[in-house]
Amino acid sequence: MMASSYNAKEEDGHHSGSSSHGGPGAIKSKKPDNTAFKQQRLPAWQPILTAGTVLPAFFVIGLIFIPIGIGLFVTSNNIKEFEIDYTGVEIDSPCYICAKNFSWNSTTSCVCSVNFTLDQPFESNVYMYYGLSNFYQNHRRYVKSRDDSQLNGVESNLKQPSKECEPYRTSDGLPIAPCGAIANSLFNDTLELFHINQNGTKQRVNVTKKGIAWWTDKHVKFRNPGGSSNLSVAFQGTAKPVNWRKAVYDLDPEDPENNGFINEDFIVWMRTAALPTFRKLYRIIQKKPNSTPTLSSGRYVMEITYNYPVLSFDGRKRMILSTISWMGGKNPFLGIAYITVGSICFFLGVVLLVIHHKYDTRTNSAEIPN
């Protein structure tokens, strides 16, 4: 049942034609070459894993891992993170009505505002995420439902999207741009953050929407069709995704560098998440030049244009504010894991030390029967 036969044998020896093969009588110099390779005597390093050799390695690993773990753990703990669920499941939540009355066909958008308080000021850049739960962006049918060529601005794919986009490929006979389930389900809630001053006035928190997508995605992988001329012309003859309220060339009409396929919110959404509970970068609140914290502690209000239904599949929507260190957001896992593995190594090192001292002498004294 071998897949391939590299068999030297295969009856090639003795048939009438093989006289040229030189019968056994033909005395050629059959003496094998005496090379180190052919005699399997290549010089070689022959390490052996014994308690003695492994011991130091274990201690070294322990000694390196534990400090790294502590460092990671401390860093992670210093990160400030604030998370708020605004889905509107409970009756008393501000977005309950919006969530309840959601309809695809409504022309007016429902707005709700959520109040929250930050106990501690957020220093340096603050990153604003939206989070979705129970949303299977990694479902196979969903992941493949896109046309990367279309998104790269290839004309032919703009008019003839890939079959993978079904059933979000055409709408009323027109090709959808951008096609596919991922694009169709673009997260379209608008989240705006206001700081409530001591005097009760709302002050908008300035956010930037640049730099939320990978640089390579924005500049290479995603491209608008037809150069940088008028986008609405370039997208002529295509339909907007069925669940969108506006066409792709109206995603950010104010900034041509952030419109169409190269809209960063769109690009961020198009990078499908690995797990059903995920967050995506929404806005960045830049650090202020002066020494005041980016977000001072106090009361805030978040105004939400509630466009995105998640209740039907039991999903949740969250808004997260987080500072970032060199190791990213708040995640104690890596620190704990490092400390754990480091400690285990150290412990095993001790155990091996005992074994080494107790048994290795015996091993050495036991003579090999020879």
């Binding site: 049942m1 009588g25 014994t50 196979r140 690995a274 970032i324 896992f333 890596l334």
Partner: protein
């Protein structure tokens, strides 16, 4: 196809040709001349032409036939199905992932087979079109070989090869003989004599030959090269004369005419019906134990695969029961998908899961295993230690499938003559009526009887004795089949009679005969030649005596004797017979039996090969009777062998004993050492020989198979005659078992020097009694079991007086015993072929008894001593190597696929692959394939000199110990653990947070790439931990594949690939590497994955070290020294390449000294 047609035709002939007579024989009209009307009415048969088709394919059927052949293999078929499923249904992975490797394998195999077939076509064409002279209407006509038809008379010149199977009609030699070498058929390069029928040998010109009017009746073609039965009817003057034809009249296709100017012969079997073509059939394939374990692992993994797919399918439908999960608004099905029936959907989902997880059974494992075996066999062929200067040959590997089986041998069955011994016979002495003659004691042509020290009765034979003595010498000079070769025409192996500047050589298929004839020469009687049916002998007085050779009753292994009938110049007719004492003595009616018998036994104990010589004077009437008997038997078409042996039985009786001879067969060099090593390695060595008990036992003692303290148990005819078989068997088993009751076996085997071990001697007759199928009565049924029980407890067994088939029977019996031990048979002669084919591993010795054993063996070695390195070093290495290869392959694919399985729980059981297509495809092909291949070719866990020095290490791997279920489960659990660490490590890292310093998020492909990166490194480092022998090749390949993986990932993600319709990997790898925590987690996860294995290794080594591990530790201390030595040797080698030999010697010395 020619083969099919001819086979079909044979079948049709067999079943449709009305008369029963035609079923088994065919009639050939010589020169296509109809027999005279008066003769029996023959039915004209159709025969194939002489076209030989050894090719398998034609231009047109190559693709379909080759594809069919390849996909008939289960593995290929499985992968094809997976591929087709991927094409048909909507599957998670692209068909490329399984199609690419599969078609690579298929195409490479097809190209290889196509090339081989093209070579065969070319060879066929060359053969079929080579010109042959055929006699037509009294003229020689050149024909292309394939146009020869049955009945054509063919003219062959010296050194030409016969184009089909022929019956010799006449030759340029007066006596109608010709010499032929069958080197290309069975490898025997000695010249064999073939005979023309007496009635046709006079037809020596084209015209004369054309005038022969005869038909040949012979059996239908059969593959046995040495059997032929036929009859020629010659019509002369309207009178038919029938003559027998035997194998001595048949010239086989492929043989070459030698020493004979020309011959005329008639074609009887042509094309695919020649004996050579019928021998094309390849041997049945042997499978190694490793392959069997591999297949059972495969079944386990197939079950795992199917259950994984089933679990996921079921879970998927449970999960999907909620329509909002099944089809949320953001992820709807197409209309077509919705309309599909639920069962079809479920089935497609099942198949899709199968496809997703199918990598757990990788195509590449088969390729790698085959490559490992194929390439690995070269190291055996290249081995300098197994090269024999004298023969000019090294080891030959006929089957690379069994490399690892060499490391698993438990029973070694060895032939004695030519295998343990040199098969280089030397005449030692002869004994005539109790007077001993030693050839060295010749003075001035006078033979002095036996050296003074001999314990013989009287040293001066009387006048009557003198006569007997000369008769004895003459008998030995006449009773043989030795040929005399002139010096200048001889090629091939020479049995020279160099001394005396004689210009001729004796050549015989039996070295004993040559030794005897040469011995006689030393004693004054020189056999000169056989000319015109006259044997010429130069006697002591330098007179030529002539004897007419009337009959030769040739030797066979059942009768164990041969005879000649000659007529002396005086007109007296004698039958001279020589043979084994057991076959001669019962037929002797007079002579000094007791003296001779005593001497024979004395010699046998010395380890000499003895033969008895007897004669029988025949009166003319008796001779007539004998002739009638023999020719009657020879003419028989059916059961000729049986009738011949019956006739021989009748003829060879009432003998008068003359004396006995003794020939020494020296032990092969290091035979004893080799046997001792095999014993120490825990193998049981059985000697199976046709020789007599005393001789064989002496050889066994000499070769240290039996030691002084070995208690010999005898199960021989003699003993069975005294008691009955039943009692003997029970006695022996009681002896053996009592001993083992008091002492455990392990104890015994490790301290074999202290405790008595048993040796068993059994002879052929008793064995067949033991093996006889159980009879009705209750007691006999269990003989075989009792016998096996006894054998199992004996460290050495000697079976003497064995017929070839019995050898195979013994091997078969041991193979079938309840432990199913791995057997190895080693032998050099045609009589060992059956056991070589029967045993798990068959080894041929390139000896003096022809090449048949070599041809049928799996491995061939020049000398018995090479068996030691073959088993202890190569076998051990290949077993270690392949077991790691197999386990590692399954392990790395568990690591590979299990995360995908886990991922299904987080992606709604949607068959979303975790890794990118390129990674799925290349994981087994390039990222992880080469390191294990190189490991499986280069690994040496222990230095080979230590392996040779300490055979007991072989026990460490006995009984397939590295591929037992616990090991397998350990590897699998390790794989699952690694998969869990890799998957959940990454999962918690990704858990709802970012790990970049710019706040950007990673997607599912980064998740997969991170897992994959950890996977590739972990799996490679696991191999790093297992590698004990780091040559530069290992370093290059291991670090090379890691570098390759990184470079590939950079390239794969670095470009927008224009031919792909997705760009999901674009910059994923680089982005991942730009994140610090990604690096940290890769390091952490690799460490955590490898940790348990390292700990297990270290603790096991410290607490429960195997012998191997102890040796490794001890070797480590002196190894530095050896390495330095070798390094210096290498340096020297660079400087002085002219003397590589001495360097390697120094190498060995350095090691052994250290």
């Amino acid at each position: 196809m020619g083969v099919d047609f001819s086979a079909l035709r044979t079948l049709i002939n067999r079943y449709c040709a009305g008369e029963e007579n035609w079923v088994d024989s065919r009639t050939v009209y010589i020169g296509h001349k109809e027999p005279p009307p008066g003769a029996d009415a023959f039915i004209q048969q159709r025969f194939p032409d002489n076209r030989v088709v050894s090719s398998k394919y034609t231009f047109w059927n190559f693709i379909p036939k080759n594809m069919f052949e390849q996909f008939r293999r289960v593995a290929n078929f499985y992968f094809l199905i997976i591929f087709l499923v991927q094409l048909i249904i909507d599957t998670p992975t692209s068909p490329v992932t399984s199609g690419l490797p599969l078609f690579f394998v298929i195409i490479v195999t097809a190209i290889k087979q196509g090339y081989e077939d093209w070579l065969r076509h070319k060879a066929d064409k060359a053969v079929n079109q080579c010109p042959v002279s055929v006699i037509q209407r009294g003229k020689k006509i050149k024909k292309e070989s394939f146009r020869i038809t049955v009945g054509d008379v063919v003219f062959v010149k010296e050194d030409e090869t016969f184009a089909c199977d022929l019956i010799l009609l006449s030759s340029s030699r007066d006596d109608g003989t010709c010499f032929v070498t069958t080197a290309s058929l069975d490898g025997e390069s000695s010249h064999k004599t073939y005979y023309a029928v007496q009635d046709t040998k006079a037809f020596r010109t084209e015209e004369e030959v054309d005038s022969i009017h005869a038909t040949i009746e012979c059996e239908q073609p059969q593959p046995d090269l040495y059997k032929f039965v036929g009859r020629i009817n010659i019509y002369m003057d309207n009178e038919a004369v029938a003559r027998p034809l035997g194998s001595e009249n048949v010239l086989l296709r492929g043989a070459t005419l030698k020493n004979t100017e020309f011959i005329y012969a008639v074609a009887i079997y042509t094309g695919m019906e020649t004996k050579m073509a019928l021998n094309y059939q390849s041997k049945s394939q042997k499978r190694s134990a490793v392959e069997k374990s591999m297949n059972s692992y495969l079944v386990v993994y197939l079950c795992i695969l199917i259950s994984k797919a089933l679990i996921n399918t079921v879970l998927k439908y449970i999960w999907q029961a909620d329509p909002n999960k099944d089809e949320p608004w953001y992820n709807e099905r197409t209309e077509a998908q919705r309309q599909r029936h639920i069962l079809i959907r479920a089935f497609t989902d099942f198949l899709a899961f199968m496809v997703l997880f199918n990598y757990i059974i990788p195509v590449s494992m088969y390729v790698t295993v085959e490559m490992q075996k194929f390439l690995g066999s070269y190291f055996i062929m290249w081995d300098d230690d197994m090269y024999d200067e004298e023969l000019g040959e090294g080891a030959v590997v006929n089957t690379s499938d069994l490399n690892e089986e060499l490391g698993q041998v438990e029973y070694v069955f060895t032939d004695k003559t030519g295998t343990l011994t040199e098969n280089n016979m030397e005449f030692i002495e002869c004994c005539v009526d109790g007077h001993v003659y030693v050839p060295d004691a010749i003075c001035n042509g006078q033979v002095l009887s036996g050296a003074a020290a001999m314990d013989m009765i009287d040293t001066s034979p009387g006048p009557g004795g003198r006569e007997r003595e000369e008769l004895f010498f003459r008998a030995l000079c006449l009773c043989h089949t030795v040929q005399v070769k002139e010096e200048e025409t001889v090629d091939g192996i020479k049995h020279g009679i160099h001394q005396g500047k004689s210009a001729s050589f004796y050549i015989s298929s039996s070295p004993d005969e040559v030794a005897l004839v040469e011995g006689m020469k030393k004693l004054g009687f020189t056999y000169l030649r056989l000319k015109d049916g006259q044997m010429e002998i130069l006697n002591r007085e330098d007179e030529i005596e002539r004897f007419e050779l009337l009959e030769v009753l040739s030797f066979d292994s059942v009768r164990r004797r041969m005879s000649v009938i000659v007529r002396a110049a005086s007109g007296d007719i004698f039958l001279f017979c020589k043979g084994a004492d057991s076959s001669i003595l019962p037929r002797v009616i007079s002579g000094k039996v007791d003296e001779v018998k005593a001497r024979v036994e004395h010699n046998a104990v010395e380890g000499l090969r003895t033969l008895c010589v007897a004669y029988r004077p025949l009166s003319p009437e008796q001779h007539q009777e004998v002739c009638r008997l023999l020719s009657g038997a020879k003419l028989a078409l059916q059961d000729r062998d049986k009738r011949l042996s019956e006739a021989y039985e009748l003829v060879e009786k009432d003998l008068i004993l003359l004396g006995a001879t003794a020939v020494e067969d020296r032990l092969q060099e290091q035979a004893a050492d080799t046997i001792e090593s095999l014993h120490k390695a825990g193998m049981k060595v059985w000697v199976l020989t046709g020789d007599k008990m005393e001789t064989a036992a002496a050889t066994c003692y000499a070769s240290r198979l039996f030691r002084r303290n070995t208690q010999i148990l005898e199960l021989t005819t003699k003993r069975v005659e005294e008691q009955n078989l039943h009692d003997v068997l029970f006695d022996l088993s009681r002896t053996v078992l009592r001993h083992h009751g008091s002492m455990t076996r392990d104890n015994c085997s490790s301290l074999s020097n202290d405790c008595t071990d048993y040796g068993l001697i059994i002879d052929g007759a008793t064995l067949s009694a033991v093996m006889r199928p159980p009879q009705e009565d209750l007691n006999s049924g269990s003989y075989k079991e009792i016998f096996l029980e006894i054998c199992r407890n004996c460290s050495a067994v000697l079976c003497c007086r064995m017929a070839p088939l019995q050898k195979a029977q013994i091997v078969k019996m041991i193979k079938a015993s309840k432990e199913h031990p791995i057997t190895l048979a080693i032998g050099d002669g045609a009589n060992d072929v059956s056991m070589i084919l029967e045993a798990h591993v068959g080894i041929g010795i390139m000896g003096k008894e022809g090449r048949q054993a070599v041809r049928n063996s799996d491995y061939a070695i020049p000398k018995f001593k090479h068996l030691k390195k073959m088993l202890l070093v190569h076998g051990h290495y290949y077993y270690i190597r392949i077991s790691e290869l197999v386990q590692y392959f399954f392990y790395k694919n568990v690591c590979f696929i299990f995360p995908q399985f886990l991922y299904q729980f987080f992606c709604g059981f949607s068959q979303q692959p975790l890794y990118d297509t390129a990674y799925l495809t290349l994981y087994n092909i390039s990222f992880t394939s080469l390191p294990i291949l190189v490991y499986s070719l280069m690994e040496q866990h222990i230095n080979m000199d230590i392996l040779k020095k300490d055979p007991s290490l072989y026990k460490d791997v006995a009984k397939n110990s590295l591929l037992r279920w616990p090991t397998f489960i350990y590897w699998t659990v390790l794989g699952v653990y690694n998969a869990i660490v890799m998957f959940f490590g990454t999962y918690f890292l990704f858990d709802n947070t970012t790990f970049t310093s710019n706040g950007q998020m990673f997607g599912n492909w980064t998740f997969g790439t991170l897992v994959f990166t950890v996977l590739v490194f972990t799996v490679t480092f696991k191999l790093v931990l297992d590698t004990h022998y780091w040559t530069w090749i290992n370093h290059f390949v291991i670090w090379g594949s890691l570098v390759f993986f990184v470079l590939f990932s950079l390239l794969w993600g670095g470009i927008i690939w224009p031919f792909l319709n997705y760009q999901r990997m674009y910059y994923v790898f680089m982005q991942m590497l730009s994140s610090g925590p990604a690096w940290l987690s890769i390091i952490l996860l690799i460490t955590a994955s490898l940790l348990p294995d390292v700990v297990k290794k270290v603790i096991w080594r410290a607490l429960w070290p195997t012998i191997t591990e102890r040796i490794q530790v001890n070797a480590g201390s002196f190894h530095v020294l050896a390495f330095l030595h070798r390094f210096r040797a290498m340096k020297r080698f660079e400087r002085a390449p002219a003397s590589p030999c001495s360097d390697s010697l120094l190498d060995g010395v350095a090691l052994t000294e250290a």
